[in-house]
């Protein structure tokens, strides 16, 4: 009897197993995965739409999240901190599930971001952080980046290596995280190199025309200037124009999201070197952290994650065809 029972059981098991393998087994994590995203809203407040970084992040977020049924709600403050603050304030009452913020400076939004977390919204900051840390920050480690850039200029320009030791810095907006933290990194490294001489350190407000005027004055004041560190490739097209007009041989190290225009600029000699934080990569990081937050369902503000974007130092020599990316063409 016992033998028959066992045999029956075994055959039943075998049957069910074979039935299962014919129809496939459902992945038990699928349903909760998709359920956790259905009908969620991600609000995105960059400093402005309409340039490579913010458009790239928006495109990346849409590509990753929209197929899951997440709605992306873009509020464009168009370079106005006031409008951005208003957008965040009204979003706090509208209560999206996630708020993605790109800070124009380190202080303006700090209190609002705290309020948003209190209201139960996950807050993800991208690339330029606020002094207030939220659920997640995705972006370049600007302090390290500044240090590395300073080191590159030392390699190129130090009197030990045959340079004049004279360098200049052209910042963006002084209070922006990208400027303030980076300058910290640059100063830290330069402190240990008294042979280097920072002859000019000016802010050009992310504007190419201002950058050009500043660079032109500095260049003609210091005919033996060896290197310039600019804080954004879109702005440094002006710095590069000033260098070209002066006819001097200056090493221009710029930085940006790695849009195709950066590679074009390296190719035609506009920039000597561009430090790239890969924008599609940052968008993917953001999308992933948003997915994680929505699945964990923890209280907003209970954990703080920082994901520093890997940096790539591109030059004409090490640049490859796929080093830069392009935005999808608009209609």
């Amino acid at each position: 009897m016992r033998f028959i029972k066992t045999a029956l059981l075994a055959s039943a098991l075998a049957l069910s197993a074979s039935a299962a393998s014919a129809q496939g087994i459902d992945d038990p994590t699928r349903a909760p995965y998709y359920d956790s995203f259905k009908g969620k809203v991600v609000a995105y407040v960059p400093v402005a739409m309409g340039f490579d970084l913010t458009e790239g992040w928006a495109a990346g977020l849409k590509e990753a999240l929209e197929p899951l049924g997440i709605k992306i709600d873009i509020r464009d403050p168009n370079w106005s901190t006031d409008v951005g603050a208003q957008a965040i304030t009204s979003l706090i009452t509208e209560k999206p599930d996630v708020l993605v913020v790109h800070n124009p400076d380190v202080s303006s939004y700090a209190r609002l971001l705290k309020k948003a977390e209190k209201a139960g919204i996950y807050v993800v900051q991208v690339n330029m952080r606020s002094s207030y840390s939220t659920d997640a920050f995705i972006g370049a480690d600007y302090v390290t980046m500044g240090g590395q850039i300073a080191q590159r200029l030392i390699d190129k320009c130090s009197p030990k290596n045959g340079g004049s030791g004279k360098i200049a810095v052209i910042q963006g907006v002084l209070t922006a995280a990208a400027s303030a933290y980076q300058m910290q990194g640059i100063s830290d490294v330069l402190k240990e190199h008294p042979e280097m001489n920072l002859v000019s350190n000016q802010a050009a407000d992310w504007d190419a025309t201002k950058a050009k005027n500043i660079a032109a004055t500095v260049l003609q004041q210091h005919p033996d200037l060896c290197g310039i560190a600019g804080f954004w490739d879109v702005m440094d097209i002006g710095t590069a124009a000033a260098i070209k007009e002066s006819g001097q041989d200056v090493y221009l190290i710029s930085q940006g999201g790695g849009n195709q225009s950066a590679c074009d600029g390296l190719n035609n000699g506009t920039y000597s070197e561009v430090v790239v934080y890969n924008v599609p990569g940052q968008a993917r990081d953001m999308a992933n952290i948003i997915k994680q937050l929505l699945q964990h369902k923890q209280t907003p503000g209970s954990t703080k994650t920082t994901l520093f974007t890997p940096l790539e130092f591109l030059t004409k020599a090490n640049m490859k065809p796929g080093s830069c990316w392009s935005l999808p063409k608009k209609g």
Binding site: N201, Q202, T217, V218, Q221, V234
Partner: protein, 324 residues
């Protein structure tokens, strides 16, 4: 204050600029070199060209707040068209047409519908910025396409050792000077600015003159746009939203063109532009921090205005309706 006689604001500002120049020349090594002076003028030539456009409008007792938007959007559209494969001359022609249409609309709204210029052009500036961003191009910054590099000569070229933008600035100044001084319409413009009703009674076609004045401003704005785009190989449409337009008005008013119209000339624009240029250049050489630069700039500008108010007090005769 009799001691000074009647010193005009233009002379005061020129004096301030000269004083600063002497101060910088003594204290700053490398300020008074030919290269630096050329560089100084080059750096403010775009501001100066826009100042001439604004000056013409202000002399005609108007104001054009859409000037910077016209410059940015018409040129950005030109670059976009050229990037999309249109031939450069055609793209430039279309951009210019766009600028002129905007100027004409401004003039029409102000002259015929009689909307105050400050409101008409303020609204127009916002309108065309949004219109351009929505219909013409998606990105903030338009780059100069590779095959348009002939154009960069206007911004980066050098002629007889002098940067081309300086020649363009001088050319625009000279053209505007000739227009104001020697043409019938130039004199009409001044007459309309001084007293529109009187001008009309004497037979000046006041409304068409107002339209002309805004079209001229758009035209010069377009030229300034070419120089801007050419000098940095790109056009940043964000300037339309910046405070740049106030710098332009400042240059005009600082130079001594009264906002009440009818007064001043191109020389005033040049003087105002030079003061700003000397200030910016000197402060950049001294490597003064940006925020401190703003403080210094503001103080010096206020000083100029205060001196003017003391030396040339306003009275019933000099004050006019429409003074701001």
């Amino acid at each position: 204050m009799k001691f000074f006689g009647r010193v005009s604001q233009e002379q005061i500002v020129f004096g301030l600029a000269a004083l600063l120049c002497i101060g910088f020349a003594i204290t700053l090594q490398g300020f008074l070199t030919p290269n630096n002076i050329l560089n100084l003028i080059r750096s403010v030539s775009i501001l100066g060209i826009l100042g001439v456009a604004m000056g013409l409008v202000v002399i005609g007792r108007g104001i054009d707040l859409s000037l910077v938007s016209v410059m940015a959007i018409s040129i950005a559209w030109t670059l976009q068209l050229a990037t999309d494969g249109m031939s450069l001359p055609l793209a430039l022609a279309l951009g210019l047409t766009f600028a002129l249409i905007v100027g004409m609309t401004n003039g029409f709204l102000i002259a015929y519908i009689e909307i105050p210029p400050i409101f008409a052009t303020l609204a127009m500036g916002t309108l065309i910025y949004g219109f351009g961003r929505y219909f013409f191009f998606g990105l903030d910054v338009m780059y100069m396409p590779d095959d348009a590099h002939i154009l960069t000569w206007f911004g980066q070229g050098v002629l007889f050792g002098v940067p081309v933008p300086i020649f363009l600035f001088a050319g625009v100044c000279f053209g505007a000077f000739l227009f104001l001084r020697y043409t019938k319409y130039g004199r009409y413009l001044r007459a309309v600015g001084d007293n529109q009703l009187a001008a009309r009674i004497t037979g000046v076609p006041t409304r068409p003159i107002v339209v002309l004045q805004y079209m001229l401003s758009s035209l010069i704005g377009f030229i300034a746009g070419i120089v801007t785009a050419a000098s940095v190989s790109s056009m940043n449409t964000r300037v339309a939203n910046s405070t740049f337009i106030y710098d332009v008005i400042l240059v005009v008013v600082l130079g001594g063109i009264g906002l009440s119209g009818g007064r001043g000339g191109i020389r005033n624009v040049i003087v105002g532009t030079l003061l700003i240029g000397v200030l910016l250049n000197g402060m950049t050489i001294m490597d003064i921090q940006y925020t401190v630069q703003n403080v210094i700039k503001g103080v010096i500008l206020l000083t100029a205005i205060v001196i003017d108010t003391i030396l040339n007090p306003r009275d019933e005769q000099t004050a006019q309706q429409g003074d701001i």
